[in-house]
Point group: C2
Chain length 190, copies 2
Amino acid sequence: MDIERIGNYMAPFVFDLDVTTGVMKGFKNHIERRASSMRGYYADEAALESIIAGGDPILYEVFECTVPELYGHLTVGISKLYPGTVGQECFMTKGHYHQVIETGEVYLCLGGSGYLLMKTKDGDFSALPMERGKVVYVPPSWAHRSVNCGNVPLVSFFVYNAESGHNYGDIETEGFIKRVFKRDGSVVIE
Amino acid sequence: MDIERIGNYMAPFVFDLDVTTGVMKGFKNHIERRASSMRGYYADEAALESIIAGGDPILYEVFECTVPELYGHLTVGISKLYPGTVGQECFMTKGHYHQVIETGEVYLCLGGSGYLLMKTKDGDFSALPMERGKVVYVPPSWAHRSVNCGNVPLVSFFVYNAESGHNYGDIETEGFIKRVFKRDGSVVIE
């Protein structure tokens, strides 16, 4: 979907989202994160290498519309995080702060089950449940990471300020305070 | 839902949305628009007065979360526009520009059918379809109004910059270029 214009303005546009499956039509940006892109994130490095050696599957995907990355615009899209574990640690996204750290984000979960983990630069931590119909508000300053604790993809519709940008680097060095595991069939955050 | 804090930051929060019915739990702000609040908007003034005299029903409702009306925050909520006509003109919302006119908005329709009408200060016009699963992007500078052309409530999840504000006055004086009618069972935009 390219950006079209009407007169002096960006044209409104519409796209289709399957609110049951989260399949989004008309997206322009597609990010695939394979296991090999997640080195350094999981506690069990050997288990991750085994997954990479076994075919390096896609662990999550992000689909976004194209809007100008400028104040006043909103980026909308779908996050699809597949189910599974690295060792006993649940599949998760990299997680990021916004580069413009004073911008927040909204998630509407459409399917699956898990958590949105959030943390601040001061070491505050929050884990809120994600399942169909949960709307999670990520206030400004909170880094955020999705974790899939279920057996089907965790699918979320998200909206954030288009100028926000992504800061992954700080999470790579800081980590995320807590990790989510499946141990003997139970989900534990520790 | 009051705004809570964790350390030096606003706390993340979660609320439940029924993605089938659009029923939102935990909202703080509730706007009800009765027929009597819509004087001056519909072409058939006598028909509107008759509806007001007949009990002044609620024509639409808006449910919103409470977040600071500051840059970086996003206001999320549900718009519920009931079905019906004033004379032959389909029920609609007042419509507004944002006071901070350079901010956009995102609508995700969860149920019903109709249009999102949009217009600019230059007289540009756009009408995009609203039905379950349609995501409409309202770029900066476009006034927007929902119109219900169906027989059930038109329910939409929306997100906009919390600092946007609402400018209803300009629509009261400018109108919206086109109106939507049901004539002999057909929907016409004219």
